[in-house]
């Protein structure tokens, strides 16, 4: 691939570990050994948008969720929201809407727990430069057995919610056009209720841990990326955090609302995508601001920054405390994603507690339909950020167009800036690239909890390599870390 960067060294980190999907980082250094540019490359391609063409639309919620093994429920529900419109069934019955919400909040809960406890906690607990033989999930299990156990059981509870609503823990079939195919059984409800207090307690503890990490390391988290950006998230029409449904809101770096689009079907009036030659991942931007200024971040940090309030008391109190970090304006530090993510974890537990007491979950009015349409867009907040599914069908019900804008894609620019920031901090003027330097780059990427599988419609867990290249292009140093680490 061509590069405009005149470098004498090119460092390649491949694979990036403890994230979803496969990617690599290249770091360019000049003659003085200073970093001139760093890039996160996504090197896989899956092409879901193409190969589901010609398939019937009712297959979409089940087929497209195979993009991901961590947050398939997000794709399942987002596709379902889009195909709801194809059957005129977007105004769901109360049972269907609440079952879907329960499924979604359960999925959020397990995904956030997975990221915090399994992927991020080794860095947060041991430090980015700790011995890699310890700095992993097994090291956490040895040094902090209670924490490791909580992570596993919290994820299990979320997965049980998914099983109870979608039929299976991974890749279920619960959401169908215009509704759902099952409601909650009494036995499942009671089993979930029995654990809700414990989940709330552990969520509070995880939030406290993420908060403490951020507050204790304020001086050190800057290099991982603390830069101004726009943010995009769904919010309820009254400005409340809502991860299942809402209006697309964009805010600027000062927290001012740039736009709030009430019509999800008009997303293409708001968002455009740019293609760059060195990555399979596109670069979305706000059309109103153009590709240079219109890039934005999504995910927990964006949602907590963009919403006006959270409608559950404990998460709202945590949000207020979080926002105080920047005097009420958006918090920009990439490492603050962890804190924001744990606020959402607690919010999910609170919402699930409320939902489980709702008798509508046990109802039998599962589907609805109305005037059929040939085109539908679904938008929701996936754990990693705003997710768009757009389908067009022919008269024969077969899909003729599919456009997916996946959460991680929207964080492409932000992750690249974080990678550049931390690479400069760790590698400027250094003669040799160490494992600890490499891991700092990965720590910055992990803060975003990227799913590179989804972003390129690709598969697998994400590995990373770093190479030092001289000005003739020869590799003079190379470090590789396997996907298993």
């Amino acid at each position: 691939m061509t590069s405009q960067v005149e470098s004498v060294e090119r460092i390649v980190i491949e694979p990036v570990t403890r994230v979803e999907g496969h990617g690599k980082v290249t770091v360019h250094r000049d003659r003085e050994g200073n970093v001139s540019e760093a890039r996160l490359h996504i090197v896989e391609f899956r092409g879901f948008e193409r190969f589901i063409q010609g398939r019937p639309f009712w297959e979409m919620p089940v087929a497209v969720q195979r993009l991901c093994g961590i947050c398939p429920v997000s794709h399942h529900l987002c596709a379902a929201k889009a195909v709801d419109r194809l059957v005129g069934g977007e105004d769901l019955t109360p049972t269907a809407l609440k079952i879907r919400r329960l499924m979604h909040y359960g999925q959020f809960f397990q995904s956030h727990a997975l990221h915090f406890f399994h992927l991020a906690s080794p860095d947060l607990l041991f430090g980015a430069d700790a011995d890699p033989d310890v700095r992993n999930v097994l090291g956490v299990a040895v040094a902090h057995p209670d924490l490791a156990r909580q992570g596993i059981l919290m994820r299990r509870w979320g997965q049980e919610i998914i099983r109870a609503t979608a039929g299976k823990k991974v890749h279920g079939t619960g959401a169908i056009p215009g509704g759902v195919n099952k409601s909650l059984t009494l036995a499942d409800r009671d089993a979930l209720v029995a654990e809700v207090d414990t989940m709330l307690e552990w969520s509070r503890a995880a939030l406290a841990l993420a908060r403490a990490y951020t507050m204790d390391n304020l001086a050190d988290i800057g290099p991982y990326g603390d830069f101004e950006s726009n943010y995009v998230a769904l919010v309820r029409s009254d400005g409340a955090l809502d991860i299942y449904d809402g209006e697309l809101r964009a805010i600027d770096a000062r927290g001012e609302v740039i736009l709030q689009e009430p019509d999800n079907q008009a997303y293409l009036d708001v968002i455009a995508e740019e293609v760059r030659p060195w990555s399979y991942m596109k670069f979305p931007y706000l059309r109103a601001l153009g590709p240079e200024k219109g890039w934005y971040r999504v995910g927990p940090l964006a949602r907590i920054n963009a919403c006006d309030y959270i409608d559950t008391p404990e998460a709202e109190a945590a949000r207020v405390e979080f926002k105080a970090l920047a005097d009420g304006r958006p918090v920009h530090a990439a490492m603050a994603y962890h804190w924001a993510r744990m606020i959402e974890l607690l919010h999910c537990a609170e919402v699930i507690e409320g939902l489980l007491g709702d008798v509508d979950l046990l109802g039998d009015d599962l589907t609805t339909s109305g005037t059929r349409r040939r085109e539908g867009v679904g938008i929701l907040e996936a754990p990693r950020g705003t997710l768009f599914h757009h389908y067009r069908v022919g008269e024969d019900d077969l899909v003729t167009l599919c456009n997916l804008i996946v959460s991680t894609t929207s964080n492409n620019e932000g992750m690249n800036r974080s990678v550049t920031s931390v690479a400069r901090h760790a590698m400027d003027g250094q003669e040799q690239i160490t494992e600890a330097m490499m891991n700092q780059v990965e720590v910055a990427i992990r803060a975003y909890d990227p799913c590179l599988s989804c972003a390129t419609h690709a598969l697998g867990n994400m590995p990373l390599v770093v190479e030092l290249v001289d000005d003739g292009g020869a590799v003079i140093d190379r470090r590789v870390r396997s996907a298993a680490s």
Binding site: G54, R55, P56, W58, E59, P61, V62, A63, R66, V87, A166, G167, K168, H171, G172, T173, G174, I176, P177, N181, K182, D396, D397, L398
Partner: protein, 257 residues
Amino acid sequence: MSDRVTFMLDGHRIEAYRSQTIMDAAIEAGVYIPRLCHVPGLDPWGSCRVCTVKVNGRPCAACIQPAMDGATVENDTDELNAWRRELVEMLFVGGNHFCMSCEKSGNCELQAMAYRLGVTAPTHPYLAPERDVDASHPDIMLDHNRCILCARCVRTSRDLDGKQVFGFVYRGAERRIAVDPGVRLKDSEADVTDRALDACPVGALLRKRQGFQVPVGGRAYDHEPIGATDGEAEGAPDGASDGESLEPAASAGREAS
């Protein structure tokens, strides 16, 4: 000459009418012989060969082989089940069977047969044939990717629906189900109420917009393997499906359901 015959099936004495096939006699006796193209109530077809048994040591398709007095018939043996496993695997790799997104998953006899026979992963290369989907009818879809050429739709349409909607065209590897040559489903006599639609053992012939309405746990093979209700009729003519299955852990299709 008596119209009754007696033969031994896996060591069990089976009585049958002289006019019966081994398959019919086994079903009547409550013994399961694996099968895909055969459905009680339809004329036997003998195309899938999954029902292959050994009669006095000679391989025969049980669905078309008459019961013979004094014969020794082997059915549930390691050798025969290995042959069946090969046949089922060839059906998978010869088509495009994506169980993970197929609405028939959990109700599919091919998938269920693969689980029963222990087809966990393909040992033959996928042929990945290019096949089309006829979705021209407003309420019916014919997905050639999933067709296993069992002719159950052909026979059901002809014998039970009183129509001639389906037939075969071409030969060998090119053989495929067709409605009248050059005609799409929308121009055929096919109707959404046709019993032929229920006869399809896989996800080839479907009523549109019905997919995934039955949740995981309520599907035919979610709890018992195919053949668990041995001897009971499966398939469309006598019932929508045969109520067999286990929750899949792996599949011979491209991915588990």
